[in-house]
Amino acid sequence: MKVVAPFLFSPEVQERVAKIVAQYERKQAAIIPLLNLAQEQFGYVTPEAEKFVADYLEVPIVHVREVVSFYTLLRTEPPGKCRIAVCTTTACRLRGADKALQYAEQKLGIKPGETTADGQFTLESVECLGACEFGPVAQVNDTYMGYLSGETLERIIHNGGPDREDWCAEAPLVETPTGEPLISKFFHMEESHKLETYLHHRGFEAVKKTVGKMPPEEVIDLVKKSNLRGLGGAGFSVGMKWSFVPKDTPKPKYLVVNADEGEPGTFKDKYILVKAPNLLIEGMILASYAVGIHKAFIYIRKEYQFPYERLQEAVDEAYAKGYLGKNILGTGFDLDIVIHRGAGAYICGEESALLESLEGKKGLPRLRPPFPAIAGLFGCPTVINNVETLSYLPFILDRGYEWFASLGSPKNGGMKLYCVSGRVENPGVYELPMGTSLRDIIFQHAGGVAEGRQLKAVIPGGISANILKADEIDVKMDFDSLKAAGTMLGSSGVMVIDDSVCMVKLLSYATKFFAHESCGQCSPCREGTGWIHKIVERILAGKGKPADLNNLLDISSFMSGNTICAFGDAAAMPVTSYIKKFRAEFEYHIQHKKCDIENADAND
């Protein structure tokens, strides 16, 4: 497709446009990449750019505008020269994000969403950036800045931008404790992202043993027996999910890697992308071989700039050296990988919304059936797997499924990258055997509660997980045990809460998140999340009413189970579990119109 837009793009950019579009089986899928490109060129999506995208990809312009308006990171107005986006979701709020944001507001004289009069700074309040371990976090232009404080903000503002390299390049802050480090072995290695380093540590041995040697059905069977579960959050048996893809189909099959990592409290995939991208690449080859796939897309959240650059570097190197593309390592197996960046929407971590977004539309989850294994990307059979899930495959195929299964607990095989954040001494990523006790994770490995305080509660698996009280942490951190305990492992985002935290305030972080991220498609979630957040804010402001608590529980219960996707269920869980387990605090707020926790949230 010849690109002719001389008034819009230079010849070099026009070439990039053509290359981008050529990567997709359907033109419309290039909408978001081209809008991102336009924004990169002009600072924002101009009407001319919208028109170009609509004409070039033959999409009605109103649908282009829909996409621009849906995603947080696409804007229709020029931003300031320096964009400071402060994370205000749960884990960062527990580490002082409020103070940091307040400081920025005062210093710049603007509110979130505004730009300074001289056009220098735009301040934004955003949701979880996936870097809770060095929270509070801000993304300054494309760079992640950790440990935000008055000081660091002073330097950033003085500098007109980031004043050091991206925090994503840092190694995780702690050692890996129990058992043999598998993925995390690469987290502390020099040049761990380079192919040479990877090959030096049994890289691609699994591919050599499996691809072209083992029948694909056997690979699927093996992975089933390894008890590898989906590590993005759903915990479904990976081998079983693969087996749902029809064996005989005239349609092409796709592998889609979910690198959206938007679940608050979760930041493990980021390290894999930065420190061990070849594990992912090898895992993708193994998965594709097992299912008969020759084209894969990695959907990576747009905020992950540095991880994306590392990943692209690794993919390019793999292609150059014969580890991707045609006839990989002489096995006769072909696989192409396209990296597809998102545009800022938590819901695009939901697998069907991810597919919609990849196809160039708003991230609106699909009605099921049909399921992606039958009709996924472009209507074709599709496997969607999380980054971490795929990254364990090389270990399974290299060293055996029995060994892998034995590392974990029954039916929950292998190791797990647990993300620990919040009021804990040593936030970070901990690779431990599946089923390690939560108490051990917090107290034995992560240094216990910070500043010598008392543990009050733990959110075990991302913001949507039912909360556990301090006396409920003797539980095995695997999918089945946590389900039996009335909560979930989810994304393994463990957020630690101490006795200085007000539970009503904590709930408001969650309700704000869900109200902001609801896609808006179906009525219970669209209206329910907004309504719930308003009620919780009203209680926090001292205007609560006695009927509020039962209303909150009732509203949540009818959001749950009645929506198109699990977001509705997820949004209900914090409401029901925090109120059920800490009802007294909520009642106090309503009765006395103030908080009974002294220094409620050390940020105030």
Partner: protein, 534 residues
């Protein structure tokens, strides 16, 4: 063909049918907003959630395919409670606009609240504010606050007209229907989005604040805009003369007919009703003694008897071959049949078929170039539908060979320069105008006979697909106007041939007996959906 049980009743349906369709067949009305049989499934309103045995969660009936052995409950306690809550969700940010909203009385929120809600509101928060009363095109107003984001309108412009004007912007409860800035909702079927909008978000500018819908009566009929013959309902009211300047017809709505127009109608047809009440000929008239056809508008009212006598006399006086009778494809089958009887058989005159309008816009959806409802009907009754019949008449008239013109509503000034028309009238001794609305030609007539419009009479049209469809009289003819067939019957009596019909049904029965292709058809068989000629 799966057999399933709904609320204890069994039904067998086609493979692929959904639970909501199966329920409908059994007469169970599962409430819904986003589901529409003519559009793709969206499944976003969640109002049609029902209980299905062996499913742990409620399922949306619009998307769930009927399976053999399925057991469905649409009225269980949990379903009812869920409906209440879904309604509550939809009303959380809905503005209290009922007193000023056109949709009141035909609003899915109101109707379902009365049927499935009836709870006390517990909302204590401010509602989300959005754009109100925004014109998004020549025919439609948008009120975003009222919108429940069912997406029917977006699917309509994507799937039916394929013009894609509408979209839903933003996320969460700030989602808003809109158009791309600088554009308009202006395709030729734009009015349909108002029909399908379950609430008052999209309203018709033409109907805005005109009349409360509970004052409206309805009568089924057929659009007269072209040969498609889309089925319509005429919404009218006759008691309240202070409403809409005393007009009777308030609006036309498409009536569902799977064989013709499905659920839709084009804008041309939808808004083609003012002629029913405006610019009507109220009383018969005759040219004032001493004035001639060409010249001023010198008509005076005359009683029916006198006007008919005068017309009949002219018909007898002027020689047969000096007459031109311009029947119109706007006339019903019954009228056309009587016209042939009177002018053809009884009087021995030649009948032509002349359209009152030129061919117009057509597409491959509902709009036909022939802007007449009964060209096909005329053809099947033996009229020639060849083009150029009017030109033939005019040629003869210019050569002085036409002394008498019988016009059925056409306006010659539409087709010819004033000089030509004047010349024609100049050579005529008599011009009899039978029609419903005034036009420049009527003003030149020697006798004006006011006829009823389609909404004021029974009768049939035959559409381009040879489907015969019925008109159902909604209200009495305006003032002294009479149904065309009655006028022709009266003239026939004066010409010596008394016709004994008491109603159009009898005329149709005779047509069915005499004209082979109509054989076997009766008004009853035609019903409200029509029947195809053999």
């Amino acid at each position: 063909m799966p057999t399933l049980t709904i609320n204890g009743k069994e039904i067998t349906v086609e493979k692929g049918a959904t639970v909501i369709q199966a329920a409908e067949k059994l007469g169970f009305d599962v409430p819904r907003y986003c589901y529409h049989p003519g559009l793709s499934i969206a499944g976003n309103c969640r109002m049609c959630l029902v209980e299905i045995e062996k499913f742990p969660k409620l399922q949306i009936a619009c998307h769930t395919q009927a399976q053999d052995g399925m057991v469905v409950k649409t009225e269980s306690d949990v379903v009812k409670k869920t409906r209440e809550h879904i309604l509550e969700f939809l009303l959380v940010n809905h503005p209290l606009d009922c007193p000023v909203c056109d949709q009141a009385g035909e609003c899915f929120l109101q109707d379902y609240y009365m049927k499935h809600g009836l709870y006390d509101s517990r909302l204590d928060e401010d509602k989300v504010k959005k754009t109100k009363a925004e014109s998004i095109g020549p025919t439609v107003m948008l009120d975003s606050e009222r919108c429940i984001l069912c997406s029917r309108c977006v699917r309509f412009t994507d799937e039916i007209t394929k013009t894609s004007e509408l979209g839903i912007f933003n996320r969460g409860n700030h989602s808003e229907i809109g158009i791309y800035p600088g554009r308009e909702l202006n395709n030729k079927y734009s009015g349909n989005v108002v029909d399908i909008c379950p609430v008052g978000a999209l309203t018709d500018k033409d109907f805005r604040f005109k009349c409360r819908v509970w004052y409206l009566k309805t009568s089924p009929s057929v659009c007269t805009g072209c040969s498609m013959g889309c089925n319509i309902d005429i919404h009218y009211q006759v008691e309240r003369k202070h409403i809409a300047d005393g007009d009777r017809v308030m609006r036309l709505k498409p009536r569902e007919n799977d064989e013709v127009n499905k659920w839709w109608i084009c804008d041309e047809g939808r808004y083609n009703y003012p002629f029913i009440d405006k610019n009507r000929i109220h009383k018969p008239g005759r040219r004032v003694q001493g004035t001639v056809l060409s010249g001023q508008h010198d008509l005076e009212p005359a009683p029916w008897g006198e006007a008919l006598d005068l017309a009949a006399r002219k018909l007898k006086e002027i020689p047969k071959d000096a007459w031109a009778v311009m029947a119109s494809p706007q006339m019903t089958n019954e009228e056309l049949y009587l016209a042939k009887k009177l002018f053809g058989e009884t009087l021995g005159l030649t009948l032509s078929l002349v359209s009152p309008s030129r061919e117009g816009y057509s597409d491959d959806f509902l709009m036909k170039a022939d802007k007449n409802p009964n060209t096909r009907g005329a053809f099947e009754l033996g009229y020639s539908v060849l083009k150029g019949q009017l030109e033939d008449i005019v040629r003869k008239a210019e050569a002085g060979k036409i002394k008498g013109l019988y016009v059925f509503g056409q306006d010659l000034f539409e087709f010819f320069k004033p000089e030509t028309a004047e010349k024609i009238f100049g050579n005529c001794e008599a011009m009899i105008f039978q029609g419903a609305n005034w036009n420049p030609t009527a003003a030149r007539a020697s006798v004006v006979l006011p006829s009823a419009v389609f909404a004021e009479q029974d009768g049939t049209f035959t559409n381009f697909q040879r489907r015969v469809q019925r008109l159902f009289k909604a209200f009495e003819p305006m003032d002294e106007a009479r149904p065309g067939w009655e006028i022709l019957a009266a003239l026939s009596e004066r010409a010596g041939k008394k016709l004994a019909y008491k109603e159009t049904r009898e005329i149709f029965d005779e047509i069915a007996a005499k004209v082979p292709v109509f054989q076997g058809l009766t008004y009853t068989k035609i019903g409200k959906k029509g029947a195809v000629l053999s």
